[in-house]
Amino acid sequence: MSTSTAGEEIVPTTLGGKAADYLDQRLGIAGAAKKNLRKIFPDHWSFMLGEVCLYSFIILLLSGIFLTLFFTPSMGDVTYNGSYTPLDGIRMSEAYASTLNLSFDVRGGLLMRQIHHWAALVFVMGIMVHMLRVFFTGAFRKPRELNWIIGFGLFTLALAEGFCGYSLPDDLLSGTGLRIMQGLVLSIPIVGTYISFFLFGGQFPGHDIVPRLFTIHILLVPGLILGLITAHLILVFYQKHTQWAGPGRNDKNVVGLPLMPVYMAKAGGFFFVVFGFIALLGGLVSINPIWVYGPYVPNQITAGSQPDFYIGFFEGALRMMPNVEFNFWGHTLSLNVLVPFAVVPGILFGGIALYPFIEAWITGDKREHHILDRPRNMPTRTALGVAGITFYGVGWLNGGNDLIAIRFNLSVESITWVCRFLIILGPIFAFWLTRRICFGLQRRDRDKVLHGAESGIITRSPEGAFSEVHTPLSQGELHKLTAHDVHRPLTLTEVTDANGVPAPNLRRAKLRAKATQWYFGQRVEKPTAEEYHESITSGHH
């Protein structure tokens, strides 16, 4: 950037400079740009995960636009006469036929389809991993709770978007997926049947569903996602990015690289890396070969019907649920479908959405946080997260119970039964184990601070005793290991004080006190300054 002494006009000479000057005189962007382009972004690999989502979404938009040019969203009946001969002369929907044409007769069509589908998997996977990093580092804490909610909205929208896209080609698997979805809708008490007729415009599958899904898939949901991503990024920008603890870093500053040019160059480079990677996958690895599945016909079905991975949890929950169904007054209450479809995901997703608020309530922490937590320093949160992953993972696993059974020569029933127990016991065990590991790691940190790092050098004293030489930590590392707060549970008086109203809410206060006791009751103290000095001056290691 050029330096200008006050009052002196600089006349731009280059073409770019002139253009910038032209725009600046009309839009006054230089001031804003100067401030924003110097915005600092901290550097850490885990902060690139959000970018993976962003870039794969851009790739989805670009490849999706290509696909809409050739896809026909219609259930109209046609006889296929394209170049894929095994389906020659077969009757099918226009949607399926146009997807076949895209795959075999449109130049680059199959590549685009595969890029689009791989990008979708990367997108949803990226969102999940990004969400986990935000969770485990406590980046959702005040003031970023709202951005967490926006992110959660993006997550659910991404699932919906993926499901709609999967259903569009009207192949055997997508039709099967829709049929299951219809079953779920039907299980809604009282209004289920009406909603199903409304959605499908009559009997399943009808003629309306594909055009409707098409509109949702290419207009409604992407529009919402785009809007929310914009809001999400504006908030990240405006609230500034969080950072890891380190020397010179605190809750009031951000240490990192300026947006322009360094961070932009890196981000731009990363975009091309992600794009290139997805394009390679699209070119080299088959995904959703709909011609192998055949067109959807309601009386056909295939063994090993599976959804894309992000629907696997729901599929697994459905397969796991015991067959419970009640009949009264001519109505059926299908708990066997309703529970895995609505209740279980409701709890899981509700828990994800509300977690920042739940944690703030339990811990009574109302401060702003811009320094991230190391997961080990928040053992209960980390353990809850791992328990959640385990819960989700077991459901997911059971979604593929038939494939596991056939690969490993087991019976599906036994896998299902194991999963039924595992989905309850697994998270409990994972919670317990993770907390223990976190405490262990904290103790190791404490030891390191007090006694230095193990050097691997063994010395022998004149008396013959062996001991290991410990090297003291650098100032930076000491800071990193001791920057966190050790939280303690709220006492009952603190709780009631916080609420301001002692008597009537006593029960709630008691509950809250119990909750913080559970959350912070067990802890590893940081070395105090005295302890540290003692260990230094005693010359012990």
């Binding site: 690999w45 993976v52 795959s103 240490v255 088959s286 599945y293 894309d308």
Partner: protein, 280 residues
């Protein structure tokens, strides 16, 4: 490389010769005695075959199926099972059964085709039943692939999977993959309905439709994976697994790599800023 002459002295050489000879005899037998005519009431050759078959049967099958094929508590009656059932069961290595379990498994085939044909002829002589199909009934016909695809997806894919990769049934039973099965065995499987597979007699699925299904299955086997690596052709599960292993690791490595690489100048600046306590 060992020369042929040293191989000739190999202790197993005699067996190899025997097997080859039997195989040759079997082929000859198959060529001259059309299976359809290996029927109880035709000709002397078949009378001889039946007698041989009975002998074989009595040694290795009667313990379970009874001395006269009447069945026992270890195996069902074979009266009326027909030569097609015997040919299928023995030539795919299912019979003689060994371990009881959820489903009798395939093993190495113990008999030559000639012996199988003899046993088949014997069982056929007991009470008729579905007959071993002739070559023309199960030979692949490329013009029938399309019809076969529709029939396969209507009648078979619910158990055997869209790509014939197999699928599970209840209690440890399963529909096996069809990627290796011979066209003849496919025809016989449909005709006789082994174990937990339903029977598709000609009244339900006419012979031509069976041929269509066989043509479809065989044609999909050597169909190229147009999209690239096929990932085992088991659908979205392997795609998901692939992206969560290979894809995730690759992307994380890229992220780490990009995050770790900073221009020298800005790295220094960051260090300075840190030293001066605080960037902006």
């Amino acid at each position: 490389m060992k020369s042929l002459s040293t191989r000739r002295r190999h202790p197993l050489a005699a067996f190899v010769v025997l097997v080859l000879a039997l195989g040759f005899a079997g082929t000859l037998f198959a060529a001259f005695v059309s299976p359809a005519s290996a029927n109880a009431d035709s000709g002397n050759t078949s009378a001889q075959a039946i007698a041989n078959g009975k002998a074989l049967y009595e040694t290795s099958c009667s313990s379970c199926h009874g001395m006269n094929g009447e069945g026992s508590s270890y195996g069902p009656s074979l009266v009326g099972s027909g030569s097609a059932a015997v040919d299928f069961q023995v030539s795919t290595g299912r019979m003689p059964a060994q371990q009881p379990g959820a489903q009798i498994q395939k093993k190495a085939v113990l008999y030559t085709q000639a012996q199988i044909d003899e046993m088949a002829a014997y069982i056929q002589s007991l009470g008729g039943g579905p007959v071993v199909p002739s070559q023309s009934q199960y030979s692949v016909n490329d013009s029938m692939v399309q019809l076969g695809g529709v029939l396969f997806r209507t009648n078979c894919s619910q158990c055997h999977n869209f790509a014939g990769e197999g699928g599970v049934l209840t209690d440890g039973k399963f529909a096996p993959e069809l990627t290796q099965t011979s066209p003849k065995a496919m025809y016989e499987a449909m005709l006789t309905g082994p174990q937990n597979m339903p029977q598709f007699p000609n009244t339900v699925l006419p012979s031509a439709e069976k041929q269509a299904i066989i043509s479809y299955i065989v044609s999909t086997r050597d169909e190229a994976n147009y999209g690239g690596a096929g990932l085992g052709r088991i659908g979205p599960t392997s795609e998901g697994l692939f992206i969560w292993t290979f894809g995730l690791i690759a992307l994380l490595l890229f992220a780490v790599w990009i995050a770790a690489h900073t221009t020298k100048a800005s790295a220094e600046r960051v260090a300075q800023a840190a030293a001066k306590k605080g960037g902006k």
